[in-house]
């Protein structure tokens, strides 16, 4: 009886592609359901509760956390986070594009080595790499010593523990996430397309603007999203490199959960970050996606 049932299941699985698809993704679905959707729901619920006097959670539904986030202090933090993430994305794009272009146009043998170099930093813990940057940027650090010895500056530059340091650290951290999708996009462009452009009278820079750039839009979109989203939630870099001066929304959330023990307020801030990031990303992807449809 049981074997009959399993046989008929195997049979219907074999004959039904939809069922096959479902069977294939169900482990992933299950994983996401348990470890992603459930905690997220908990955070949603938490954000409508409030903090008790001893850091405990009071189970009474209210909106006061969200009202509190409307305070200009927090709005400024949100705005500052958005600006930092946007600037980080733009800088990664500007630095990453020539790099990705160079790798995509390199001979096949060098290409895999160059890609390997892009991935090498991931072998070392992120925190350690941030400390390496601190060593470079601090007042008696590598950068200042070198510039002083070369006589290029008279007094050491104050970079560490400024927004500039946060910016440098974040661009550094997220650059590979921009380079890799850009590379994939640029590599797909056949060289003959550029030959065709040249043949039709386009100087190299015009061929770049009219052919290469539009065809790499999908990579630019993917890279921007991959950089922008984690940049919005970043708190390690501002913590370590920005001193106490730079607070992003990521720091705010972390502090609420770990220091202030106001979990409901932290949860509300998380929700605002999540929804804000989602809106910006969707708007961007939709505009860019429309562009892509026109392009491809």
């Amino acid at each position: 009886m049981a074997s009959n049932r399993s046989k008929s299941f195997t049979k219907s699985l074999r004959e039904n592609p939809k069922l096959q698809g479902l069977a294939l993704i169900s482990p992933t679905m299950l994983y996401l359901l348990v470890f992603m959707l459930v905690p997220l729901l908990l955070v949603v619920i938490l954000s409508f509760l409030s903090r008790g006097p001893y850091g405990n959670v009071v189970y009474a539904l209210n909106l006061q956390n969200y009202v509190r986030l409307g305070d200009s202090l927090y709005l400024r933090i949100l705005w500052y986070s958005l600006a930092t993430a946007t600037l980080t994305t733009l800088a990664s794009l500007l630095i990453g594009y020539p790099l990705a272009y160079y790798i995509a146009r390199a001979p096949a043998k060098q290409r895999s080595f160059l890609l390997f170099l892009i991935l090498v930093p991931f072998w070392t813990n992120f925190i350690i790499r941030i400390y390496a940057w601190i060593m470079i940027l601090r007042t008696e650090g590598l950068l200042n010593t070198t510039l002083l010895n070369l006589g290029l500056i008279k007094a050491p530059l104050d970079i560490l523990y400024t927004p500039m340091a946060v910016f440098i650290g974040m661009v550094y951290e997220f650059l590979p996430f921009m380079v890799l999708p850009l590379f994939t996009s640029l590599e797909k462009i056949e060289f003959i397309q550029l030959e065709a452009a040249a043949d039709l009278g386009a100087q190299p820079w015009r061929a770049f603007l009219r052919v290469t750039l539009p065809l790499s839009v999908p990579g630019m979109i993917a890279g921007s999203i991959l950089v922008f989203i984690p940049a919005m939630g970043m708190f390690v870099v501002p913590d370590l490199m920005g001193g106490a001066k730079t607070v992003l929304v990521g720091n705010l959330i972390r502090n609420q959960f770990l220091t202030a023990r106001d979990w409901p307020f932290g949860a509300a801030a998380s929700m605002v970050l999540l929804i804000g990031t989602l809106i910006v990303t969707l708007l961007y992807a939709r505009r860019a996606g429309l562009g892509e449809e026109v392009l491809v």
Binding site: E190, I192, Q193, E195, A196, A197, A198, D199, L200, G201, A202, Q203, R206, R210, V211, P214, L215, L295, V296
Partner: protein
């Protein structure tokens, strides 16, 4: 002073070899292409025809030698400054642009006024029978239509010379035949010099005013389709163009334009037109096309007439292909045109039948056996 549309002077192109050496993809190619001519570069893959085309287009620079277009030495002029345009084998259409944008691209590079561009794009699309398709993306078109877009995109620039790199290679046979005729008609209509690269000898014969036959980087023979087919000057040319029979031997007698060779595999001697300068005693081959051999039941000539046995026959509708054995395993393929119905017994040869094979000397060529 008379100028040519394209002139290649002793052009050499060497590429580095993986083993560290160099190979000459193009080896001292020297040719002149007339204004308004349909000129084909024909040869097997790797013969240097595409590299030659790319050198004219400016995608490659010659290692030695010089290219002149309309009498102007090109030197290292980049492609975007040359008065030539290319139709690529893979079309290389811009996938992110519409058909009309593709065609307009070259004109925009010339900074023409918008109305002028629109007018010429419409004109060009009409010329290749793609009127009303301007708003589509290349991917929405069939292979044949994409081919036409590539053609329109290049022709709209009104180049001095249009370069075509196996443009029909990706199309199916029927469409290819149609496009051959259409391309030829188009070329006559616009009067632009076409330089056409192909490995398809039939295509080259159908369309060209003149053909340059290439092999291993060298030009072996330049001539009209008739000259190339009827008077190949080398064994390679005779073999590559059409179908031919070879009889091996050595030269025993030279008489004005005729040469007689002693066949290697039999006692017989055979005479044909002398191609190139031969000397007595040198190894030579006699080349004769299958449609030029005459089969008969009685002897026709005193010379060049051999008794043979029919090995097999293949009926292909317009022709019957007959394989005959001259003895000692020397076989010839003969194409008998079916001028009368093959159901008529007189027109039919059967395997095992004894026949006379006549190789008329004026239809046979004696070539040096290189």
């Amino acid at each position: 002073m008379e100028t040519f549309a394209v002139e290649m002077c002793e052009v050499v192109k060497k590429f580095p070899n993986p083993d560290g050496g160099e190979i000459s993809a193009v080896d001292h190619v020297d040719l002149q292409i007339e204004h308004g001519e349909f000129f084909s570069l024909l040869g097997p893959s790797g013969c240097g025809k595409t590299t030659s085309l790319r050198i004219i287009a400016g995608f490659e620079w010659p290692t030695e030698g010089e290219i002149c277009i309309k009498g102007q030495a090109m030197g290292r002029t980049p492609p975007y400054l040359r008065p030539v345009n290319t139709v690529f084998q893979s079309y290389a259409l811009f996938q992110h642009m519409t058909v009309a944008q593709n065609v307009a691209f070259g004109l925009e590079m010339e900074h023409l006024a918008k109305p002028e561009i629109r007018r010429r794009v419409d004109e060009a699309l009409e010329m290749v029978q793609l009127h009303g398709m301007g708003a589509r993306k290349p991917k929405q078109l069939s292979g044949g239509q994409q081919q036409r877009v590539a053609l329109a995109r290049a022709l709209v620039k009104r180049p001095a010379v249009l370069l075509l790199d196996e443009p029909l290679g990706a199309l199916d046979l029927k469409l290819r035949k149609e496009m051959q005729l259409e391309l030829k008609a188009l070329q006559m209509q616009v009067g632009i010099t076409f330089v056409y690269v192909t490995h398809d000898q039939e295509e080259a014969l159908t369309m060209s005013d003149r053909i340059a036959l290439m092999n291993k980087g060298k030009v072996l023979q330049i001539g009209t389709p008739v000259e190339i087919y009827e008077r190949p000057t080398s064994r390679f040319a005779a073999d590559f163009i059409g179908v031919t029979n070879f009889l091996l031997g050595s030269v025993v007698e030279l008489n004005k334009e005729m040469a007689t060779i002693q066949l290697k595999q039999s006692e017989g001697r055979v005479t044909g037109l002398q191609q190139g300068n031969l000397v007595a005693g040198q190894p030579a081959i006699l080349s004769i096309r299958p449609e030029k051999i005459r089969l008969s039941e009685e002897r026709v000539l005193n010379q060049n007439c051999f008794q043979a046995r029919v090995i097999n026959t293949t009926y292909i509708g317009s022709d019957t292909r007959v394989v005959v054995d001259l003895g000692q395993g020397t076989r010839l393929t003969v194409w008998e045109q079916n001028k009368i119905s093959i159901l008529d017994k007189r027109a039919f040869y059967t395997p095992g039948q004894e026949v006379w094979v006549t190789l008329f000397p004026e239809n046979a060529l004696v070539l040096a056996d290189a």
